[in-house]
């Protein structure tokens, strides 16, 4: 994995934690705020640029969180589903190619 990971922060509530536990990924969560857990999905610089181009509302927050922010909930939900289905956090290549292939239909598709 590249040194700089330009993460997408997926915030983890109990419902998400259960799914991550089932996928054996609960240990990848980091506690950041008074017990609040976050799962950082890594991106390379190239993936980051692609995301910012595909989702124009998104920004890379250099000032505070140092992560890709302002992605809509349905996008982040889909990334989370993919993480759980593939039992790994390196899912952005698949995510991006699926979205590029299927476009907006991707959001309503089940992950096979």
């Amino acid at each position: 994995m590249a040194e700089e990971t330009y993460p997408i922060n997926l915030w983890v509530n109990e419902e998400r934690l259960e799914k991550l536990q089932a996928a054996g990924l609960a240990g990848m969560c980091k506690e950041v705020l008074a017990g609040l857990k976050v799962l950082a999905v890594p991106n390379t610089a190239e993936q980051r640029d692609k995301i910012l181009k595909l989702f124009t509302m998104a920004k890379f927050d250099t000032a505070t969180t140092k992560s890709i922010e302002l992605l809509p909930k349905f996008v982040k939900d889909k990334i989370f589903d993919l993480v759980v289905a593939r039992k790994k956090i390196d899912v952005m290549d698949e995510f991006l190619s699926k979205f590029e292939q299927t476009g907006d239909a991707f959001w309503s598709q089940q992950i096979a």
Binding site: N9, L10, W11, V12, N13, R16, V32, L33, A34, G35, L36, D61, A63, T64, T65, S67, E69, L70, P72, K73, K76
Partner: protein, 425 residues
């Protein structure tokens, strides 16, 4: 003279009673007075002027006032502190077409309904770039205040305003709308001698909550505790929005929720709103906020890190330092300066930069981070974010935000207006 506002003058209130207003409109129309329909931006400030939010201003600024504000941060009298120009702009073409000239009385309408009388006393031009540099410290049009300045038309009109037709404040803002005189009445009813203003355009997390609590404890000082002799006024700024801001409805209802659910005692806490388009002028806007809240009757005003700033145009504490540069006695409100609050995993609490000695272990929660959490629909721990406040955000997103707690294009297009001007009858 008990309602003394900023500048040591009685709170301005320039409103005609309904019967007199109807008569005035009829007279003006019979005399073929010029009429001008104003946009929301101007209508908002007409209301602010007429109710005395901008006391001692009685109207839109003349050139002498604007120049003094830009050059010396005072009005044209050379002593009343004022930091932001309040101007009425018009295109050269429209001005010519309207035939408006000095000493005219113009009937202003809003959404085509009679609204206010504008006594034209000055028509002038301004160097917008120079104004931007002096007010905002930059001429960069990416700065939202500078952008607004550049968007002004080329001609400016100064003169007094008299409101003919009070705004109808729409739900859910109705109960939060108090004029300066009404606010002072409310403080009197509550028996408050000390009123700390908290300026906000945010949904509160516990960092904000603790800022307010810290300010309250600090300012309460040696007053007797037999009954609440002071309180916190959350005065939310409701005005022009940028995409990504919290929606107005969430701001006001979530602020109120802090009191409703006991995080502040009901008798020391009041949530209201004022109409103002944020200029993001950092230090100068801090001074403006101090004047505004003096008019509301507040005795203290909190100023946080990067108060009213945007991007990296200002040092985070410029908005504190500017108060040192004002002549003594020129403001009738005491600033309370805040450093940062953060969550400390060692203290295991939200704590204050000026107190906690675990700086290297701190977990700051920036607005961006909180926003990221909220957008995921994940309820943060109660030490970070009160669950009732979180529930209220989600409710507001559904009820007012077309599914989003943050301003979207959709919201800007379809939202219910904060106020309307109805037919005058």
């Amino acid at each position: 003279m008990e309602n003394i506002g900023h500048g040591g003058k009685e709170i301005v209130e320039r409103i005609l009673p309904k019967d007199a207003a109807i008569k005035r409109v009829n007279e003006m129309r019979a005399a073929k007075a010029k009429e001008l329909d104003v946009r929301l931006q101007i209508a908002t400030e007409v209301i602010d002027i007429a109710y005395g939010f901008f006391s001692p201003l009685e109207g839109f600024m003349t050139k002498a006032d604007v120049d003094a504000v830009c050059d010396n941060m005072t009005l044209a009298d050379g002593k009343t502190v004022w930091a932001i120009p309040i101007v009425f702009d018009m295109s050269d073409e429209d001005l010519k077409k309207s035939g408006i000239k000095q000493n005219d009385e113009v009937l202003l309408t809003y959404t085509s309904n009679p609204f206010a009388v504008f006594e034209v006393s000055d028509i002038f031009t301004l160097d917008k770039q120079d104004m931007a540099q002096k007010v905002y410290g930059t001429t960069d049009e990416k700065h939202p205040g500078v952008k607004r300045t550049y968007q002004y038309q080329d001609k400016f009109i100064g003169g007094k305003i008299t409101l003919l037709n009070p705004p109808k404040i729409n739900e859910p803002f109705t109960r939060f709308w108090l004029t300066p005189k009404q606010m002072r009445e409310r403080f009197k009813e509550k028996g408050w001698e000390m009123i700390i203003n908290h300026q906000t355009r945010n949904v509160p997390h516990t960092g904000h909550e603790w800022l307010m609590k810290g300010a309250y404890l600090g300012a309460y000082g040696s007053m007797m505790v037999d009954k609440p002799r002071g309180g916190i006024l959350v005065n939310a700024i409701i005005g022009s929005k940028r995409e990504g801001d919290y929606i107005d409805e969430a701001i006001i209802l979530c602020q109120e929720a802090q009191g409703k659910h006991g995080y502040f005692r009901d008798d020391i806490f009041l949530t209201t709103c004022s109409l103002w388009d944020m200029r993001y002028a950092g230090p100068r806007e801090a001074v403006f906020h101090a004047c505004l809240r003096t008019n509301l009757g507040c005795t203290h005003h909190m100023f946080g890190r990067d108060h009213a700033g945007v991007g990296s145009y200002y040092d985070p504490y410029d908005a504190h330092r500017i108060f040192d540069k004002l002549p003594k006695g020129s403001l009738n409100i005491t600033p309370i300066f805040n450093l940062d609050w953060w969550f400390c995993p060692v203290c295991d609490e939200v704590t204050y930069m000026g107190v906690c000695g675990h700086k290297d272990k701190k977990a700051s929660f920036s607005g961006t981070m909180i926003r990221s959490i909220i957008q995921d629909g994940v309820k943060p721990p109660r030490r970070i974010f009160r669950p009732e406040v979180f529930d209220m955000i989600m409710e507001c997103a559904e009820k007012y935000g077309f599914g989003d707690a943050f301003v979207t294009e959709d919201y800007l297009k379809r939202r219910n207006p904060v106020f309307t001007i109805e037919p005058l009858k």
